[in-house]
């Protein structure tokens, strides 16, 4: 297809919420010509203007579907698309099936990016925002991890793996704490700068200790088992990408899947949930881990790694890393309050971790 390369686009107060540049809309129509269904309507449901990605909901003569423009490199997208196919066709996982083109392809390349159509699962409903819901999410995640084992990407795809990169990403967190400090010093008159300076040393020390613990753990021997035997992490799993639907929990938005130690997803889900609760709750953490363990058994080694991953200053890092972009806007009162909340929540994290530390004793 002869066309322009898709690039990220600007949004401002004049563009509406789901603005998409015309040339991309035109491409979308072209892409849909490759499919045998008739489109009755299409509606934008999500955009990623800063990356150049979008999702449309389609009403067609063969039911509702989603059309996705994947912002990643085509060879990277091939990795996740084949994974989705593997999960549906080989493992019968509750993951939306990919709709093939007239010529039997799983995707169309247009504007230098991959596009694909998948079934729109209806009805889908979020789980209840309580411990029971959290446990459903964890169980479904464990199932997903188990089913993703054995996946092998096509030859032309990039192998997306974070398996060996844990020490590097821990190290990066330690280093970026220097950046936060240096920026807070350079912008010291801004409201949030003092807050950052008063906590950054402590969080950096925590990250350093996590890295030391990681290096002393059984991480390397776990890594040796290799990509395919560990399977895939979702990387963006949470209360919206795991939902209740026909026959049970469905997992959607698989575009970022990569090989990794599966507990990375579990750690993110639990620490994110604790942030939503504004405190760490021993019962929740224990029950969530147990629910996951029922679907995908945790070994003492994996549990140890889960504890180490919890020990990172994940929430502080996740929320403050944006500071490098526009410090004069970011370092405001809202950020001061955010930091205070993170610090407060962090206080209950350590007693919680201490209490559950030995639950999976070797």
């Amino acid at each position: 297809m002869d066309n322009f390369a898709i690039v990220p686009w600007d949004v401002n107060e004049l563009t509406h919420e789901f603005f998409i540049p015309d040339y991309i809309n035109t491409l979308a129509v072209e892409v849909l010509k490759h499919y045998s269904f008739q489109v009755r309507s299409m509606q934008v449901v999500t955009t990623k203007p800063d990356k150049g990605g979008a999702i449309w909901k389609l009403e067609t003569d063969s039911g509702p579907k989603s059309l996705k423009l994947l912002h990643r490199r085509p060879t990277r997208s091939m990795f996740s698309l084949r994974a989705q196919k593997y999960l549906v066709e080989v493992q019968r996982a509750r993951v939306p099936a990919i709709v093939k083109t007239k010529s039997g392809e799983e995707y169309i390349e247009a504007g230098g990016k991959l596009w694909f159509v998948a079934e729109w699962i209806e009805p889908l409903a979020p789980v209840t925002k309580d411990l029971a819901g959290a446990k459903q999410l964890c169980y479904a995640l464990g199932e997903f991890h188990e089913l993703s084992k054995g996946y092998i990407p096509p030859r032309q795809a990039e192998v997306a793996s974070r398996l060996t990169k844990w020490p590097k990403s821990y190290g990066k967190m330690v280093r970026k704490m220097d950046w936060f400090r240096n920026i807070a010093i350079a912008y010291k008159e801004m409201p949030a700068s003092q807050s950052i300076l008063s906590v950054v040393d402590r969080f950096q020390d925590q990250a350093r200790k996590s890295l030391v613990d990681l290096n002393q753990s059984s991480y390397l021997s776990l890594v040796e088992k290799g990509n395919t035997s560990w399977g895939l992490v979702h990387q963006d799993y949470g209360w919206s990408n795991g939902q209740m639907g026909p026959n049970g929990m469905w997992i959607i938005d698989l575009d970022g899947v990569a090989y990794d130690l599966p507990i990375r997803d579990l750690r993110k889900l639990i620490s994110g949930t604790m942030a939503d609760l504004y405190h760490w709750d021993v019962t929740w953490v224990r029950e969530m881990i147990r629910a996951y363990h029922e679907a995908s058994p945790l070994t003492p080694e994996l549990y140890e790694l889960l504890m180490i991953d919890f020990s990172l200053p994940n929430e502080f890092y996740k929320n403050i890393k944006e500071v490098v972009y526009e410090p004069e806007l970011f370092l405001n009162e809202v950020t001061t309050q955010l930091i205070q909340t993170i610090v407060d929540t962090d206080q209950s994290k350590w007693p919680t971790l201490n209490e559950i530390q030995n639950d999976w004793r070797k």
Binding site: I152, R155, I183, K321, V324, Y325
Partner: protein
């Protein structure tokens, strides 16, 4: 001689998109091509024809970007053509595939970085490739020593040939050809009457320009009218904002002195920034092979502050053409060395003059090319199997004699005879082993095995 130079799969030659290896090749070609019939095999680019003959040099450009694809093209080309010598740039993984289709050609290899590291090339293939090449040329002692540490047996094949610079293009700012450009550039960027510190390089954690920016408060307290120019985009021709770039920009904004970021500057115009500056600083934190910017700064008559990482300090004579920062992690160490230069105008001047002198006497492209010619000459003189003809005959005779039965020359006691025989036999076996080891087909076999294994793996993947 008919010579093939095989470039990498990443960037085209001539260096329309920049690149140290591409610059090295293009810099030496005019001189090399006076003595040999040269073909340059590299990757295609929209701005360049797929085939051309230019100034007597043949260029063939094929699909690249991914090594596996490029390798197939290279093999196809080498198979269809004959060369006396094939010089491969920075891709040890091309040695065995090329050998498999060019059993008679001599192979030499240039190493520009860490491509021999374990995670970049399987040690079985690395060993085979190292035995196969006649010589290995490295861009710094540092690069050579890393290979020596990994593969000690290869030590005697390694030789450093420092890169070069076009001293007609990179000129001091007070040179008649440059004076106007320097003044115009300074005027345009508000740098008139400033002492301009220059950084040129990728904006990445490894290259460490943030350390220099963080040294500025200390420096500006001591020196009036300082300015910093940062030349560089994220990665060659692409300009995109990473967290690191955002971080350095955020720091730069708050400095008491002007920080001028140029964004991407075309490789063809970079000399203008060197001519605009007064002092060059390289801030690399990583074990860098040896950054080209050092030669360019010398040619432009700039005093240099660089870091004791990798090969960078190899071209600095302390207090003659520059100073070396031992702990580049610490911004104040940069402040200290820069202060040492800026506070002594006559030292600063002398260093610049000395740098220019080094560039003209030691780092001209002609010198680089002459050294490559020497290496090629040596390679051609080495017998094909790497074992001198005389020794080879000796081994063959001994093998023959061994077949005929026990020798009679040992007339001593039985024990001695037995021991001597044993020792002889061991020696012989060892030599025969060595002989066999260097036989081309053997190594091609190893390569083929590795390849078959890979194919099997791929096949497993597919099914």
């Amino acid at each position: 001689m008919k010579i093939l130079m095989v470039c990498t799969e990443k960037l085209p030659v001539p260096p329309v998109l920049g690149g140290a290896i591409q610059t090295y090749i293009s810099g030496t070609l005019p001189h090399l091509s006076k003595f040999h019939d040269i073909t340059v095999l590299g990757i295609s680019d929209p701005s360049l024809p797929d085939k051309e003959v230019k100034e007597g040099i043949k260029y063939v450009r094929v699909t690249g970007k991914v090594l596996e694809l490029y390798r197939e093209e290279v093999v196809r080309f080498v198979e269809a053509n004959q060369f006396d010598l094939i010089h491969i740039f920075n891709r040890p993984r091309l040695v065995m595939p090329i050998r498999s289709v060019a059993p008679q050609s001599k192979i030499t290899l240039s190493m520009h970085n860490d491509m021999f590291n374990i995670e970049k090339i399987n040690p079985v293939e690395a060993n085979a490739a190292l035995e196969e090449v006649s010589n290995i040329v490295t861009v710094s002692d540092y690069v050579g020593n890393v290979i020596r540490t990994l593969y000690p047996e290869t030590s005697s094949k390694i030789r450093t040939i420092y890169s070069g610079v076009d001293t007609e293009r990179f000129l001091p700012g007070d040179h008649p050809k440059m004076r106007h450009i320097r003044n115009a550039n300074r005027k345009q960027h508000g740098l008139e009457n400033k002492t301009v510190i220059l950084f040129a390089g990728r904006l990445s954690v490894n290259k460490g320009v943030d350390r220099l920016i963080r040294a500025l408060p200390q420096l500006s307290a001591k020196f009036k009218d300082l300015a910093l120019v940062v030349v560089g985009s994220k990665w060659f021709s692409q300009n995109d904002v990473t967290d690191y770039v955002a971080y350095t920009r955020a720091l730069a904004k708050r400095q008491p002195i002007p920080v001028v970021a140029t964004g991407f500057v075309s490789p063809a115009e970079i000399q203008n920034w060197f001519a605009t500056a007064d002092l060059f600083v390289c801030t690399s934190l990583w074990q860098e092979p040896l950054a080209r910017v050092h030669y360019e700064a010398m040619a432009a008559g700039l005093p240099i502050v660089t870091t004791a990482r990798g090969g960078n300090a190899e071209v600095i004579r302390q207090r003659e053409n520059g100073l070396v920062v031992d702990n580049p992690e610490d911004p104040s160490c940069f402040a200290e060395k820069i202060t040492e230069i800026l506070s002594d105008k006559s030292l600063m001047k002398r260093m610049g003059v000395k740098g220019r002198e080094f560039a003209v006497t030691k780092y001209e492209w002609k010198r680089v090319a002459d050294e490559i010619l020497e290496v090629w000459k040596q390679a051609i003189e080495i017998p094909h199997t790497n074992i001198p003809e005389k020794e080879k005959n000796e081994i063959e005779t001994k093998v023959e004699m061994d077949k005929r039965g026990p020798r009679l020359e040992n007339q001593g006691s039985k024990e001695v005879v037995a021991t001597n025989k044993q020792r002889d036999k061991e020696k012989q076996l060892k030599k025969v082993e060595t002989y066999k080891k260097v036989e081309t087909y053997k190594k091609v076999e190893i390569y083929k095995k590795v390849e078959t294994h890979k194919k099997e793996e791929d096949h497993k993947k597919e099914t």
